[in-house]
């Protein structure tokens, strides 16, 4: 797809010399993709996200060390060639643990934001599209949920899962807990967007042409509300990573020996003066990933907006 698009752009550039009016025919998504690639920061951020995600998925291949096996001959080493991020007090490779920690942190972030997006988008779209008393009822429920303290809700949900159950089950519990509370904001956002766009003339025009609800939503309402939604999504990922860290810190998230960036940071923090590398590398992982998501989100928002074409 990438190669295809680039060759078309080239064709366009050549044709542009003779005929300024002509531009190759792109659909909306093709055009957005092209604009995204033109944004260097967003492309690099996107590449980083893909890379770190792949590294987390294929962690055992990426690193030669075992995640949990102690090596008491090499404890608390600083960064070396063999251990680029150093080792921890048990002699485990910090780089390996950061990569494996990405599984939990990124997994929670992706799955959490995906569920929040799916539930929030559907819920908000229905409320915003239908309006009237349905909207009222649905939004009062959201208000009710909002009034409930998020952390308390997650803690209650996590307590349902027995503390000695398998790590996989705890992960699933985390996903559900985060997903269930994080869709509220998305639902409100989507609903607000839909309500305002629904009244615009171009939607009336589509209705006058006889467009069905499904078409109205997918071709008119959704593309025009995607900007704020994408931004909210990319901003929610860092906050989900942080929430996971918080939960793990108070002992409700993943448990040792499974690492997550939040767990590693909270453990490393205590030895900050003697072994700063134990806290710095997980902290860097969190920071860079959050930054990457923010940059990528900005780029995506601009790419999805045709009026941004040609601006940098």
């Amino acid at each position: 797809m990438t190669v295809d698009t680039q060759s078309q752009v080239q064709v366009a550039a050549e044709a542009g010399a003779e005929d300024v009016l002509k531009r190759p025919s792109y659909g909306y998504w093709r055009d957005a993709w092209r604009r995204l690639l033109r944004n260097k920061v967003a492309t690099i951020a996107g590449l980083y996200i893909v890379l770190i995600t792949l590294a987390a998925i294929f962690a055992p291949i990426v690193t030669p060390y075992d995640r949990d096996a102690p090596d008491f001959g090499n404890t608390r080493e600083g960064p070396t060639i063999e251990h680029p991020f150093g080792t921890d007090p048990l002699g485990r490779d910090v780089f390996t643990r950061v990569i494996f920690g990405g599984r939990v942190s990124l997994g929670v972030a992706f799955v959490g934001s995906l569920t929040s997006m799916l539930i929030g988008l559907t819920y908000g779209a229905i409320a915003g599209y239908l309006g009237g008393w349905v909207d009222d009822l649905m939004m009062r429920f959201v208000d009710l949920m909002y009034g409930f303290p998020t952390l308390l809700f997650i803690i209650l949900m996590m307590l349902v899962i027995p503390p000695n159950s398998s790590p996989a089950l705890i992960m699933v519990g985390l996903f559900i807990a985060l997903g269930v509370v994080s869709w509220l904001g998305t639902a409100r956002l989507v609903r607000g967007q839909f309500l305002s766009i629904r009244e615009q003339d171009f939607v009336t025009a589509a209705r006058a042409l006889g467009a069905k609800p499904a078409r109205l939503i997918t071709r008119y309402l959704l593309p025009n509300s995607i900007g704020p939604i994408v931004v909210a999504l990319t901003l929610s990922i860092p906050s989900l990573i942080l929430t996971e860290s918080t939960l793990s810190f108070i002992g409700l998230g993943v448990k040792a020996p499974i690492p997550s960036w939040g767990v590693m940071l909270s453990e490393g923090w205590r030895g900050m003066q003697s072994d700063p590398h134990l806290a710095i590398f997980p902290a860097l992982a969190i920071t860079i990933t959050m930054l990457a998501f923010n940059f990528f989100g900005d780029g995506l928002r601009d790419a999805l907006d045709p009026t941004m074409r040609g601006r940098d």
Binding site: R23, S25, R309
Partner: protein, 338 residues
């Protein structure tokens, strides 16, 4: 009553919007945006619909197209009743009647290319396909005076006049017979206004279109319309051929509207007598008991406060809803008999 000369017949159309209050959305009143309106539009003519802001012009236009579900009344289009049609059949009919909007900046989907916007009606109604569709779109763009190569551009790359042309191309895509033009030139520059009006007139000649031309520009009405309906507070107060209206307006409201048109001759302009109305338009949620215009009418009589005048044909093809006009007409016809 409908014959094959009539394309659109509207009878006793009412469009009320509920005013709700409180958590449970109790209906506490109704905004009577369009109140008991009846008129007919002949095939191939342009009916002007004039009136000040908020008088229900736009609502009337949209209720005719069934974009609002009318509260009461009937709308017959090409001999077929629309208000009782099920939604699915309605969609078929709507391909024959279209709308052009006032604001060319909000009437085009900013996320679609111009080609996609004009193609949209064809896609929705499954007309033509692939190459054929592309050709139809190019033809439409050229017909409204745009370069067909603009098809791959997005709406924000165009000026207001060009965007209005795109909106017209979209409205024409399904070969409609009837178009509601909802203030199509109001938001354009004066120089562009003429272009768009000329385009609409050319299209009418070529394609035999019928227009309902909603506007508040009275000089434009005289130029483009065959007949004019004057609206005040949800009702049609005068309906007549355009020349008859300008030469012999019978309703006091129409008279005051016409007196507000500037004359492009400084000598005449200086002596022009304006009829300035007192006060504001009453709220459509709480219209006056009698004639809707009684609170501001310079010729108001006792009777006007109690009874509502009906739209009566006082001269051939010239109807007025006004007791004052009725009385002076009766006097005139009695004198004739004597």
């Amino acid at each position: 009553m409908s014959d094959n000369q009539t394309i659109m017949e509207v009878n006793n159309l009412k469009m009320y919007f509920p005013i709700t209050r409180g958590v449970f959305k109790r209906t506490v009143g109704w905004t009577q945006a369009v109140d008991d309106v009846s008129f007919r539009i002949k095939k191939g003519e342009t009916l002007g619909l004039v009136g000040e802001s908020g008088c229900g012009k736009t609502t009337l236009g949209r209720a005719i197209l069934q974009l609002h579900k009318p509260t009461a009344g009937t709308v017959k289009f090409e001999g077929e009743e629309l208000t009782t049609l099920p939604r699915r059949d309605l969609r078929e009919r709507t391909s024959r009647m279209q709308i052009i909007f006032q604001d060319p900046f909000s009437s085009l989907n900013p996320r679609m290319t111009v080609g996609a916007i004009v193609r949209e009606p064809l896609v929705i109604h499954g007309v033509a396909n692939g190459e054929e569709r592309r050709r139809v779109v190019e033809e439409l763009l050229e017909r409204v005076g745009l370069n067909a190569q603009f098809a791959n551009r997005f709406p924000h790359e165009f000026s207001g006049g060009q965007r209005q042309r795109i909106g017209i191309a979209r409205a024409l895509a399904l070969n409609p017979t009837f178009i509601v033009a909802d203030e199509p030139i109001t938001s354009l520059d004066v120089s562009i206004q003429a272009q768009i009006v000329n385009l609409m007139e050319d299209l009418q000649d070529e394609l035999g279109l019928t227009y309902l031309f909603i506007t508040h520009d009275l000089s434009m009405v005289r130029h483009i319309c065959d007949r004019v309906a004057v609206m005040y507070l949800g009702k049609i107060v005068e309906l007549s051929g355009v020349e008859a209206l300008y030469n012999n307006a019978m309703h006091p409201y129409t008279q005051s509207l016409l007196s507000a048109i500037p004359v492009p001759d400084p000598v005449v302009e200086e002596t022009r007598q304006r009829i300035i109305l007192e006060g504001d338009v009453p709220s459509p949620a709480n219209p006056p008991a009698g004639c809707n215009f009684c609170t501001r009418c310079p010729k108001v009589m006792e009777r006007c406060f109690h009874a509502e005048p009906e739209l009566k044909e006082l001269a051939p093809d010239h109807s007025v809803a006004c007791f004052v006009a009725e009385e002076s007409w009766q006097k005139a016809s009695m004198q004739k008999e004597v």
